[in-house]
Symmetry: C2
Subunit: 342 residues, 2 copies
């Protein structure tokens, strides 16, 4: 089968790619070709030279003819403008997130309408579809029946795309799936423009000996998932059956990926236990109302029964997330870290 990963050279795209190239199967069939579409393709990247991999570089909306030049069986749509840039540039977010996803859905629909396979489209949505509206606060525990009332442009765009995918699926144009990602931490690499970026930065930067700023009150509760668990969730939802029964999507679309609920203070305590006081003291708390407003509007506690029914589970605790980051990114960790903890 031919699999497309949009945002294929982004952080999650690379994680998904690595897993697919290691497994070589998806949805019970061999992965014959893996097309990575991204506007940014690193100059030197071994994966681009992999014999199974094709690369399409550029704005996705302008390159859909190339993406669908050969029949596509599965699209894992990770390409997205992130939350803070959507908030600062409304039109950019509407174009990158809403218009591009719709164009992708129309390209997939054109393939099935022309007699080709009906593409399975796996959309990476976000916890940001939920927002705590002062006049209609979220319930203390959120599940997929909770009415999303996004309080950010990014969350609105993700929610609208979820509904377009549901509709394209209802009409038989695509076989759509929606994985709502929790905040992914700890992300490696450079900071991005996500409002939630600090939730990786306050761990990642100190572990490389750099200072970091925590722009929220450490008492803030957040819903996190490690990169490993996030990729596992995306691929599980890609492979889930659509019919009723255990381990299926039971006809409904969005699945909230399992969330580990912690306070930011819990995260900093875990860093302190793993890496010591000198490293943890590199974090300075300096609340930024704009960041607090976005991240604080997201729910922190979930009933993950749907994800559990698919066999998905949250990370055990944040300390194990920090240790997994250190294990997966040894080159990015420049401070001395005890191997067995405190």
């Amino acid at each position: 089968m031919r699999v497309v990963v949009t945002g294929g050279f982004g952080f999650l795209g690379q994680q998904v790619t690595d897993v697919l190239l290691a497994r070589r199967t998806l949805c019970g069939a061999p992965v014959d070709r893996l097309l990575l579409a991204d506007r940014n393709v690193p100059a030197a990247t071994p994966v681009a030279d992999h014999p199974l991999v094709d690369v399409v570089r550029g704005d996705l909306s302008e390159r859909l003819d190339d993406v669908f030049r050969h029949p596509v069986d599965v699209v894992i749509h990770l390409a997205s403008a992130v939350s803070a840039e959507c908030e600062s540039d409304f039109d950019l977010g509407m174009t990158a997130n809403l218009d591009t996803t719709r164009a992708l859905l129309d390209a997939a629909r054109a393939q099935s309408a022309a007699g080709g396979p009906t593409p399975r489209v796996v959309f990476s949505s976000s916890v940001a579809v939920y927002g705590s509206d002062p006049a209609a606060p979220l319930p203390p525990v959120v599940d997929e029946r909770t009415l999303p009332t996004p309080q950010s442009s990014y969350g609105t765009q993700k929610r609208v795309c979820e509904q377009l995918i549901a509709e394209y699926t209802r009409r038989g144009f695509v076989d759509g799936r929606v994985a709502r990602l929790m905040t992914v931490a700890v992300r490696p690499g450079a900071p991005n423009a996500a409002a939630s970026g600090f939730l990786s930065g306050i761990i990642r930067e100190p572990l490389s000996g750099l200072p970091a700023t925590c722009p929220v009150d450490p008492a803030l509760r957040v819903a996190l998932a490690s990169p490993r668990r996030t990729v596992e969730g995306i691929l599980r939802i890609a492979e889930a059956g659509r019919d009723n029964g255990p381990g299926s999507l039971e006809g409904r679309l969005p699945v909230n990926l399992p969330a580990l609920t912690v306070t930011v203070a819990d995260m900093l305590d875990a860093l302190r236990r793993v890496a010591g006081d000198a490293v943890a003291d590199l974090v300075t708390v300096a609340p930024d109302p704009a960041i607090e407003a976005i991240v604080g509007s997201w729910p922190a506690s979930f009933d993950n029964a749907r994800a559990r029914a698919l066999g998905l589970r949250p990370d055990d605790d944040f300390e194990s997330v920090v240790r997994a980051y250190i294990q997966d990114h040894p080159d990015a960790v420049t401070v001395a870290v005890g191997k067995s903890g405190h």
Copy 2:
């Protein structure tokens, strides 16, 4: 103030226009100009010659420069492709309902961004945003906290527009309001392509001596509102305050207009009581699975607490709806009807 009514020569548009021209005020200010935008403008229509009225004819998305040539204070956005045509022509619905509404919102945003008034945009949404998904059925009683899971293209488009309006409002681009209309019955005039059109036709056609087909099981329960109550609701939501307190929108957007819940059999019984057996017997029951699927997916029972807080109430009963139709459209009623009922 300058008021725009899109779909201004449609049935509801004309009702809203008549009320506005009679009242001459909206939101506490005099209505100085009333612009009616519609792709279809009747050849001879007295309202077009009214001294307060301007007319813009054509596709709304192509005429927005003319609509916003002078500062607009309030837009009542009624223009829409209807449910059955959206189901039979997916692209038409996406263009007419989603793209046109977004273009309207962007034109309104351009006005406020240029230093003009922030337009109040009143969007006519629909009960069709709710759909009974077999895997996730609706609760027995629906309110504004119920998660909409539309089961039609029309419902999806309306729901997506609701969320765009919430977002444009959150960002301060417009002052958006959303009135979710129940099925409006009894509509006068020719049948339209709405899946719910028969809910007017089974009353209207017999009252003019014509046969009518009921395409659903008469036991089906439906949520109705008369044209009078519907127009009242749209204007009340246009005028509601946005701040907290009784009679305000309390910050939240969609309001379900009050619903009269009846079975189709109740409707036919009311017709029989008002107009007699010979008229009621003009209706033939011949279920059409396509119509039943759309209309049957809509909820029939509502908790209308939000609408009640705004002072809105449902019709008393369906017999009074039939009598109001006869009173408002004497020329369309050709059969003999007792003036005081049975």
